[in-house]
Symmetry: C2
Subunit: 283 residues, 2 copies
């Protein structure tokens, strides 16, 4: 292969991906945003040298980040996405016919620009229900009170601008932004990487103290370190594993189930099955 992209998730273990050429490189006020063309994974976006998504594997992350919380909520109409500038999470959210409005608060407009230019199938930016705001998510959540049904925290790793997305203060503000039956989800890194355990614990402790329902679920992501990724979910009312939630999944996804490559009722349920070593991280 002519070039290699290497990401080391600790000093000793990494992922190597052959790249054909670099399509985008910008040092923004916040971070370094890059897009590479690859043979195997389509176009690949990295931020500060860490893989964010590829065109070929993004369906897993975006389906799980959107549909697990939206199906947990009884009737989501207004959704807030913090981060998610590539547009993939919003695309999945907007598949739900009942969703009327999505605010996507992305700190870095270069991420949106890079996605529109080089990953045109990932986002659904022309959808009139989508409102893109270029602002710091931490500041945005100071304003709204009981405004959103679902909040999806689709930030990058807990370094750089995303570090505060793993702290309790932020989750307190999100709790205030959510209506009385609101649901929140946040990506919380890989349980196989010990240096991420503090992030998982921090988010789980924060949401457990604020919400009556707080859980961790897992999904396979081939281009994220170790392939196992965790997401944390918190709910003011419904439990994602309750019979009322599980019994509605097939009906509520029927209008778009043909487009789903990962999420289904079994996967929704199975994602909450935690290996012993994962349970021990935060129990």
């Amino acid at each position: 292969m002519p070039f290699q992209y290497n990401e080391f998730y600790n000093e000793q273990t990494g992922l190597t991906i052959g790249i054909k050429k670099q399509l985008f490189h910008e040092q923004t006020p916040f971070q370094t945003v890059e897009v590479f063309e690859t043979d195997t994974w389509g176009n690949l976006m990295t931020i500060d040298g860490m893989v964010m998504l590829s065109e070929k594997d993004e369906f897993v992350y975006h389906e799980m980040m959107a549909h697990v919380p939206l199906l947990t909520h009884p009737n989501p109409e207004k959704v807030l996405i913090i981060g998610g500038g590539d547009g993939g999470t919003a695309r999945e959210v907007l598949k739900h016919p009942g969703v009327k409005h999505v605010d996507m608060v992305e700190i870095d407009e270069a991420v949106v620009r890079a996605s529109k230019l080089h990953m045109p199938e990932v986002g659904d930016f022309s959808n009139p229900k989508l409102n893109v705001v270029y602002e710091n998510g931490l500041e945005f959540v100071n304003g709204p009170v009981k405004e959103y049904d679902v909040i999806i925290i689709d930030g990058s790793d807990p370094v750089g601008p995303a570090v505060d997305l793993f702290k309790k203060d932020f989750y307190e503000k999100c709790h205030t932004c959510l209506k009385d039956d609101g649901v929140l989800v946040s990506q919380t890194e890989s349980p196989f990487v010990e240096s991420y355990h503090d992030s998982i614990r921090s988010v789980q402790n924060a949401i457990s103290s604020l919400f009556p329902v707080a859980k961790l679920f897992l999904t396979y992501i081939p281009l994220y370190p170790t392939g196992m990724w965790s997401m944390s979910i918190a709910s003011k009312q419904r439990d994602p594993l309750s019979d009322e939630v599980l019994s509605e999944i097939e009906k509520r996804t029927a209008s778009f189930s043909e487009s789903l490559k990962y999420y289904n009722k079994d996967v929704h349920h199975g994602a909450f099955a935690l290996p012993g070593f994962v349970r021990q991280i935060f129990s």
Copy 2:
């Protein structure tokens, strides 16, 4: 890092692991067996350049390969392991108090020797219930008739000596070796890698035509390509997802549950939740 170990699972994507030194290298009549010392993963064994296991991640693979089929069987006493020369699968099988005898048929004694020398915690080779036979698994299964309760096919990837472990003829012989309530499991590669789809389909088609119960399940393995690995299970009687199986798991693992880092009742059930793209490979 002073040295790197690189495994490319297709021409374009690979895993890179920093190694301190090589501990074992032998070109056997069958394959190249190597062990490396690493900082992050303990000692790491490769065969023909492909990661087989590390001391730090082997618990996942071995717990799932052993406990899912043994719990599916009502009362396993005699178990056959094809391959598995590192000893980890046998170690997990031997945790079940009811197991009286394990035949481990490994084609290459160098794998056992390397494991004993450089991964002493992985195997339980001094256990008097374990009988190690150095023979070709394909020939071994020509003999026994209705002798085993469980067969575990713990082979390497479908290249080199393990290629026939993915063919129907082999599963017919295994079927004959199994008693009337016998259960079989086989590792069947990563569903995220398209070049493996033929292997998954081949095994699923073979076991579906031979056994009344045939299913695929998934597990996270951080050092295998993409982190998602599939295993195929076939049973002459009990379904691994039946109430009778699920209701017994906690009781039957109670005597060794403290030693388990991955497997539990939730994981047993959740592992069978297949994403849509995985279902499509063999349906």
